[in-house]
């Protein structure tokens, strides 16, 4: 019987890891469809950002209360994983609490900490559910989240609460079995939290308790493995991608737009034709700006997969706040959806493009480039970079601009100012 359960466990574990890795490889391919960009400079500063922004969740603390709750869930997730390690070894080896004899008194302390964290995680997730579904918070009510994204968020929170409840149930039953001296249940110190719940199972027989303990144990670990496989299909993937995203975050001042050296070169040759004579001819005609996801950089696409749809960007966006079609959160979600679509088509773009297939000109035009979205993002996502690259495509590949912008361009070109004034009057303010 024992060997059957060990085998079943092994099958579940291998299957879960297999499906997870397959999906992760797919996401990696989707991200690497973006064009290359070198972000290997200043490693010391990048590691610092990783520690501060991802581990330290620095940006989250712009709202301290939410940050503390989020930190409980995050710390719970990372620290309780140590317990998962024991559960996996037990599952494969057919042992029970294999770390208990090894760690001695430390084991009781560890499990005690896990239990406290489990309670904090469950309480925080419950508060988050209330914030999302009962309190009328604008960024959660937003139509951005209609349909799957809103359910996704709730599934994650509910799953976390259920998993924590199973973990605590398992420990409660285990603690009673230990105190009754049931064989196989090696006594450790009373568990800090669940010893106080023992009353719930009062009067139950040993065998019933064993059934409860085993059922909770199995449901908990199967739930964890199922969650592992769900993770890369959900917005919750930020728990992984926040780390590389913080590392690769932009180090330049926010106001600086990326240069386009091919255009710089072309202008230089137009101004100094003698330089053009010695220039090596380009092999392919360059494409300007971004029309689809493969025109964006891999960092833009990493951003899209790291987005957890929290909506802090859109809550701060002047366009979103005044009812424009633009929502930076949606820019990220649409970019990810398009990258996923190309992934499902085995890398074939098909008829659609990110521009117009997902993101409209109206959205792109509404941006004031104010950087509020970039400033707010806790995981260093930059929606503005995508918007500006798509604007470059619209203007330089399609000559698609509002009439007023075309006038502004021609004024700059002819009068050296965006308005139609004579360049001769540029110093008229001195004597007026």
């Amino acid at each position: 019987m024992q060997i059957v359960s060990q085998l079943l466990f092994l099958v579940a574990l291998v299957a879960a890891v297999y499906f997870f890795s397959r999906r992760v490889a797919g996401i990696r391919r989707n991200i690497l469809r973006g064009r290359d960009i070198d972000l290997s400079d200043q490693p010391a500063l990048r590691w610092k950002n990783l520690v501060l922004l991802a581990f330290g969740q620095k940006k989250m603390f712009r709202n301290p209360l939410v940050a503390v709750l989020h930190f409980f869930v995050y710390a719970g997730f990372i620290i309780i994983n140590l317990e998962i390690l024991e559960i996996i070894i037990d599952g494969v080896a057919g042992t029970h609490r294999i770390f208990a004899p090894v760690l001695g008194p430390l084991y009781g302390i560890l499990i005690g900490c896990f239990e406290i964290l489990a309670v904090l995680v469950a309480v925080s997730c419950a508060i988050f559910l209330v914030r999302r579904n009962i309190l009328k918070l604008r960024r959660f009510l937003s139509k951005d989240l209609d349909g799957w994204p809103r359910s996704d968020a709730n599934y994650i929170l509910i799953t976390e609460i259920v998993l924590m409840a199973l973990f605590l149930t398992m420990n409660t039953a285990d603690g009673i079995l230990q105190s009754r001296g049931v064989p196989h249940y090696v006594p450790v110190q009373p568990f800090w939290v669940t010893q106080h719940f023992a009353g719930i199972f009062n009067g139950l027989s040993d065998s019933t308790l064993i059934t409860i303990e085993r059922t909770a144990w199995w449901l908990h670990i199967l739930g964890v493995l199922a969650f592992l496989d769900y993770l890369p299909y959900s917005k919750h993937l930020h728990i992984v991608l926040a780390f590389p995203n913080a590392y690769y975050t932009r180090l330049k001042p926010k106001g600086r737009m990326d240069n386009m050296p091919e255009i710089q070169q072309e202008v230089l040759y137009a101004m100094q034709p003698e330089l053009a004579a010695n220039a090596a001819p380009g092999d392919t005609p360059p494409k300007f700006g971004a029309k689809d996801v493969h025109d964006l950089t891999w960092k833009n696409l990493l951003d899209a997969f790291a987005c957890t749809e929290c909506g802090r960007c859109s809550a701060a966006c002047p366009a979103t706040q005044t009812g424009k079609a633009l929502s930076p959160r949606l820019i990220m979600m649409k970019t990810r959806d398009r990258a996923e679509e190309i992934g499902r088509q085995n890398g074939e773009a098909g008829d659609k493009t990110l521009l117009r297939g997902y993101i409209t000109e109206e959205e792109l035009r509404a941006c004031t480039s104010c950087n509020a979205c970039v400033e707010e993002c806790p995981v260093s996502i930059n929606p503005l970079d995508i918007i500006l690259q798509m604007r470059r495509h619209l203007i330089m590949e399609e000559s698609s601009a509002p009439q007023e912008w075309n006038m502004m361009f021609s004024n700059i070109e002819n009068n050296m100012a965006p308005w139609k004034f004579s360049p001769d009057d540029r110093d008229a303010w001195i004597n007026s």
Binding site: A316, T322, M407, A417, W419
Partner: protein, 260 residues
Amino acid sequence: MQIKTMAEYFANGETPEVLFWVGCAGSFDQRAQKITRAFAEILTKTGTQFAVLGKEEACTGDPARRAGNEFLFQMMAYNNIQVLNNYGVKKIVTACPHCFNTIKNEYPELGGSYEVIHHTTFLQQLIDEGRIKIKEGGSFKGKKITYHDSCYLGRANGIYEAPRAVLETLDADLVEMKRCKSKGLCCGAGGAQMFKEEEKGTTRINFERGHEAVATGASVIAANCPFCMTMLTDGVKEAGKEDSVKVLDIAEIIAAEMKE
């Protein structure tokens, strides 16, 4: 006003302490011209040796670049950098955060590296050096002032304190809007929005900001950007407060309050 151009300095074989980059709004927009004159007056009164480019100045290309027209931006940048480098310009001060950002952050990789200072930082330096002295019991004393962070000075370049430090010398009651500093709400003009109609929405961005500024009860809204100036002035008008609430650039405030 006697203001020398870079060409005049150059002809005499002299170099001014600083080049005042006026910008297109500062040169042509009637409201912004007042800011330009106020700042030039401060420079003159403090004995700062400065020059302007005059007719040789041209748009930095900021709105073209942000609209997506990189060719036009590169052309403007090329010409401006030629002019600046020919004069051997080292230090630039400007009253426009868009010009400030473009010259400071985007020109260096195109071959134009200068020390670029926004006028609010420059004013703070002049105050710190004792070159500007504020009148005792000036007209802003005890008055409620709220300061609007422009995106290109604030978030884009992380300058939040210098303008506030300048305003604090007035002994005024400085009140903050809820959305201030790194959380500041845009006036709606950046990213080339200044030059086109807003997209359809529930309200205009400058109305939203105008209402927020008026709601602080301040009688003066201090700005640091000629585009913000236009947007906020309209926003205050829309809120029906144009008679009781003034939108002023920090340079205008200091020009009025400094000792002769």
